[in-house]
């Protein structure tokens, strides 16, 4: 169990800057998710922490000591890979016990630990099998068991669920959360799936183009995104954005007037989540283009003076394409951004926390 301190870590691949001076502190026992699209640098950062890549600049410390000059085996980490990397020429038992055998642990103790971890992940009956005889989900459990068996100070996971089908992913996510909560291991988890991030993380570090844009607990990232990018990346369906023009203390957005708008920045941009809109007497008025019934609610796409505008509305409301609909944002849910930099102008947001807890 250890904390992680990443300072000014940068990484260049030839002329391509994969990471720009990244800072992150992970508290002991914390579960941090690195969330971002492909190319955002999240896997690169994870591999630098693991020791599979060397940073071009900056330092990495685990448990208070510098590790960036150490090979992976001396960092006290264990890693679960996206393609599981289960050794095909060994049984499941030998796979899980591999790290323990490398530590020259006595056979009886290896047996005990392997069985305990296998039970945690419900693979006790598979111990004598080879990876070729396992399904994808089973192989994934073996990979996780193998990493947990060595009781690492830090657990690193590189998109472990992305190769599973949707239903299995859901089940495994819940199971993983349970198992990891029990062991309270400091974990860094990389994914591009924001639902996974929201469900698993103590804190989400949203990454974009080689930078950590925001690192905060899920509700904070969701309700108070630090930048326009975060607002648009988190949440499904994504946040709506509209250009806005200041009018004195307030602003006008697509014909609707807002009274109190935070100061600062140059040009103004407005954001509202689709679920924060409700039909009202006055508000955003537009023509309904598409109505998608989604079970518990319906997704309505409107044309708002040339902008595509989405709203999630109750099912009991009858909406038909071609109609004119007037929607108002829920009080306090409007989000304001600097149109050029994308930074949030929200005064309620806490200053960018680099440390956790």
């Amino acid at each position: 169990m250890a904390d992680i301190d990443i300072r000014q870590v940068a990484k260049r691949f030839g002329s391509h800057q994969a990471l720009h001076a990244v800072d992150l502190t992970v508290a002991d026992g914390e579960f941090v998710v690195l969330l971002g699209a492909s190319g955002s640098g999240k896997t690169t950062l994870l591999r630098i922490i693991a020791g599979l890549e060397t940073a071009s600049e900056g330092t990495v410390s685990i448990g208070g000591r510098r590790v960036d000059h150490l090979p992976p085996r001396r960092r006290g980490i264990a890693m679960v890979f996206q393609n599981y990397a289960v050794f095909p020429h060994m049984t499941v038992f030998d796979n899980i016990g591999f790290g323990l055998a490398m530590q020259k642990m006595p056979a009886a103790e290896i047996e005990r630990k392997v069985r305990r971890v296998a039970e945690m992940l419900h693979i006790e009956e598979l111990l004598k099998r080879y990876s070729g005889q396992l399904s994808g989900g089973q192989r994934q459990r073996v990979a996780v068991a193998r990493a947990l068996a060595v009781e690492p100070a830090v657990l690193l996971m590189d998109e472990p669920l992305s190769n599973l089908d949707a239903l299995l992913r859901l089940e495994m996510r819940a199971e993983l959360k349970g198992v990891l909560q029990e062991s309270r291991t400091t974990t860094i988890y990389v994914t591009h799936d924001q639902v996974e991030a929201m469900s698993l993380a103590d804190r989400i570090a949203v990454m974009h183009e080689g930078r950590i844009v925001q690192a905060a607990p899920a509700p904070e990232v969701y309700h108070h995104p630090a930048t326009r990018f975060v607002g648009g990346f988190i949440g499904n369906p994504p946040m709506n954005f509209l250009p806005a023009t200041r009018e004195g203390e307030g602003a006008r957005v697509a014909g609707h007037r807002f009274r109190d708008v935070p100061a600062g920045g140059g040009a103004l941009a407005f954001g509202i989540r689709p679920e924060d809109l409700a039909p009202a007497g006055e508000g955003f008025s537009g023509r309904v283009k598409v109505v998608e019934p989604l079970g518990p609610h319906q997704l309505v796409t409107m044309d708002l003076s040339g902008h595509l505008f989405r709203a999630v509305l109750d099912n009991d409301l009858t909406v038909r394409p071609g109609e004119t609909l007037v929607l108002a944002p829920r009080s306090g849910r409007a989000r304001w951004f600097d149109a050029d930099s994308g930074d949030s102008l929200d005064p309620a947001r806490m200053p960018e926390p680099v440390t956790g807890a």
Partner: protein, 283 residues
């Protein structure tokens, strides 16, 4: 007559346009297979026949399975010694080719270094160099260094001939083993070397064996360097060559069979790994 003409006239209209192509393909395959198998068959028939049957004509279709020729061969002066030399040289070639080729193949597969493609090309190009040009200078050099007429000297030359293939087979072999497996081993307590030993080697062993067998066969059948570089310690190929015009027929046939048949069987056994040389996927 008329009925034959009608049948023939009917057939082309009913047949698929590809049938003539298939016929050509089939006959080409038959010719190629015959080209390879008939001489081998003749070899085997004569090697397994009695001494008298070798010079007889026409040849029996089925070999007599008389071991007379082969025993004549085995007892001929100098043959057992030559066989042993062939084994030793081929064995040494195999060990050297793998010993040097595996690390080279691993480096080509795993490391991105400037000149990697050039290296690969250079390795291949060594085979393009004509060996006869080297014969005299090599002999002179070997005499100077004291490697002339030794097993080691010949094995070194054969290793040079076999290594390009060994390196390339093993490079493609290691490339087919995901690097993630090694990385997983590194995070679990392995150094690069122990990860190679515990994870990569067990998975690559069949391919390495195949590359080794291929090197063995190259050395086993090599004639020119063997003939030039050995006097007392002749390998079987050199031995048969030197007495080609004066040796009795049974000896030639038996010797030929002993040279060709094992090579054929070995290569057939490892053909899967040789395909990877030419980039044909086998997984």
């Amino acid at each position: 007559m008329t009925s034959l003409a009608t049948t023939e006239a009917e057939a082309p209209t009913r047949a698929e346009p590809r049938s003539s192509g298939r016929l050509v393909m089939a006959s080409a395959v038959v010719v190629l297979v015959a080209w390879v198998l008939v001489p081998i068959y003749l070899l085997v028939v004569n090697a397994l026949g009695s001494v008298a049957a070798v010079t007889a004509w026409p040849k029996a279709l089925v070999p007599e399975f008389d071991l007379a020729s082969l025993s004549f061969f085995a007892n001929y002066a100098g043959v057992p010694r030559a066989l042993l030399n062939s084994f030793l040289v081929a064995g040494l070639t195999m060990v050297l080719s793998i010993g040097l080729g595996a690390p080279a193949g691993y480096a080509l597969a795993r490391f991105r270094f400037p000149g990697a493609n050039l290296f690969r090309l250079a390795v291949l190009m060594t085979r393009a160099f004509p060996l006869p040009l080297l014969a005299l200078p090599l002999t002179v050099l070997f005499i100077r260094v004291g490697l002339d007429d030794t097993i080691i000297g010949l094995a070194l030359v054969h290793t040079t001939l076999a290594m390009p293939f060994a390196v390339l087979i093993m490079a493609s072999l290691f490339m087919s083993i995901p690097e993630e497996l090694e990385e997983a081993a590194w995070t679990l307590g392995c150094s690069r070397l122990s990860a190679f030993r515990k994870v990569v080697l067990p998975l690559a062993l069949p391919g390495i064996a195949a590359a080794g067998i291929f090197a063995f066969v190259i050395s086993w059948n090599e004639v020119f360097a063997a003939a030039v570089l050995t006097i007392e310690n002749k390998t079987l190929t050199a031995f048969l060559l030197q007495s080609l015009d004066v040796s009795p027929l049974p000896l030639k046939f038996a010797g030929g069979a002993v040279l060709v048949v094992p090579a054929l069987l070995f290569l057939f056994a490892v053909r899967k790994y040789l395909f990877s040389l030419w980039g044909i996927a086998n997984r």
